[in-house]
Amino acid sequence: MRNVFLFIRRYFNFLFFLVLQIVALSFLFRYNRFHEAAFLSVATEVTGRLNQKYNNVEYYFQLKKTNDSLAKDNVRLHQLLKENFEAPDSARKFITDTVKIDSVKKVQKYVYMEAKVVSSSTSSQANYITIHRGSAQQVRPNMGVAGSQGIVGTVVNVSQNYAIVMSLLHRQYKVVVKMKNSNDRGTIEWDGSSPLYVTLKDIPKSVKVSKGDTVLTSQTSSLFPANIMVGTVYEIVDDKSSNFYTLKIRPSTNFFNLEYVYVIDNTQYDEQKRLEDSTRKKIQ
C-alpha cells in the first residue's frame, strides 16, 4: 500500500497529465457522437454573445453583399407570384398555373423562421454555424436549415438564445437528396477535403447522370421540404468496382459569406419519428 502511494507521489505529474488527456479525449469523442459535452450549453450562451458582438461590427462590412443576396432572393420570389403565370390571350395554348395556392385548407407542414448567422467556420473538419435564435424562439434540435441559395445543415444543439447548426461541411453530416431529372435518391456526405465540394453516393449506375445536373432535397429526408436546391453535379468519378455512382457535387450555398439562414420546422417531425421508432421496437 505504501508503495502505491509512493508511486503516485513520484509520478503525480505524469498521472495528472494522463487524467487531463483522458478528460479531453472523452469530451472530444463523446461530443462527436452525442452532441453533448460538459457545460456546453452554458458555454454556447457565452461564446454566442461574444460572437454576436464581433458580428455586429463585421455586419457593416457585409451590408452590400447581404443586400445583393436579399435582392436576388426577392426577385426569385417575385417570379413565383401568381400574377406572373398568366395564360396568353389565345385559345390555342394554355399554361397551367404552376404555383399551388391552397384552396382547400391544409395543414402547413413546414414553417420557416429566419435567423442571423453570428459565427461560422469552413476551415476545420467539423464545421458548425452559430445562429442567433434559440429554444426561446422555437428552435429545437433536428431542424433543417437552409440559406437563400440552398440547404445549409441541421440544428444539433440549442441554448436559450443561440443554436448550433451542423453544416453540410461536417464529416458526420448526411442528408437524403434526389436527382432532379430522375427522382433517384442518394445520400450527400462530405469527405473533409475541400469546402467547395461534397459527395453524393448511392445513385445506381442505371440512371443517366451528366455534368451540371441539379440535385434537390427529397421529401424522405423529413428535415427539409422537397425540392430545395442542394447543388449541381460537378464531376462523375468513375468507379468500376461499384454499381453506384460517386458524384462530386458543388453545393449551391456559399458557406463563406452566410449572413441569414432559414430554420425549417417540420411540425409533424415528432409524430413521424415516434411512429417510426415504435415500429422499429415492435419488429425487434
Partner: protein, 177 residues
C-alpha cells in the same frame, strides 16, 4: 503589472486573436490553418510548478474549444505541450542557470538557437497531435503529413512576426535587486 495579471490579459488576448482574427481569415489552402494561440503556453514563466502548468494548458485549450465547438481537441494538444515543455527547456538551456535569472523563455533569456529549437519542437508536437486527432477517422496519409507541414510553416512564420513585433525585454534578475 504583476506577472499573474500580465498572463491573465495574455490569456484573453491570445484566445480573442485566434478566434476573431486568425480563424476568420478565409482559408488560403485546405492544408493551412493559422495557429498562434499556443504561443501563450510557450511564454509562461519558468518558475511555474509543473502541475499548474499542465492545468493552465488544459484550461486554455478548453476555452478555445468552446469557441470552435470541438470540446477537447485543442485542450488535449495544449495539455501535451504544457506537460512536455519543462523537459524541452531542461534539455535546451545552455547558459548556466538561465531559468533562474530570467522570468520566462524568450530569445533574450535562452539565446536565438535554443529558443528557435524550443519553439520548433513544441510547435511540431502540438500540430502532430492536433492533426492526428482531427484526422483519426480519415484515410489519406499524405493529407496528414501535408497538413502538419503546411500548418507548422505558417505557425512558425506567425510566431516570428509576433516575436519581432512584441519584443519582450526580459530583465536579468539578480539576488541583490
Amino acid at each position: 503589472m504583476s506577472v499573474l495579471m500580465k498572463n491573465i490579459i495574455r490569456f484573453i488576448l491570445f484566445i480573442l486573436v485566434q478566434v476573431f482574427v486568425l480563424f476568420k481569415i478565409p482559408p488560403l489552402h485546405r492544408f493551412i490553418t493559422p495557429y498562434l494561440y499556443y504561443l501563450y503556453i510557450l511564454w509562461l514563466p519558468f518558475n511555474m510548478p509543473r502541475l499548474s502548468l499542465t492545468s493552465v494548458g488544459f484550461l486554455f485549450g478548453l476555452c478555445l474549444d468552446y469557441f470552435t465547438e470541438t470540446p477537447g481537441l485543442h485542450a488535449a494538444a495544449c495539455t501535451l505541450i504544457a506537460y512536455v515543455r519543462p523537459f524541452v527547456i531542461n534539455l535546451l538551456i545552455s547558459k548556466e542557470g538561465a531559468d533562474k535569472s530570467y522570468a520566462s523563455p524568450s530569445i533574450r533569456s535562452m539565446g536565438w538557437a535554443p529558443y528557435a529549437t524550443y519553439v520548433l519542437v513544441l510547435t511540431v508536437l502540438h500540430h502532430i497531435y492536433l492533426v492526428f486527432l482531427e484526422w483519426m477517422s480519415f484515410g489519406s496519409f499524405m493529407y496528414f503529413i501535408g497538413k502538419i507541414i503546411a500548418t507548422t510553416g505558417i505557425s512558425l512564420l506567425l510566431i516570428l512576426v509576433t516575436e519581432l513585433l512584441f519584443f519582450r525585454n526580459e530583465k536579468f534578475r539578480t539576488n541583490t535587486a
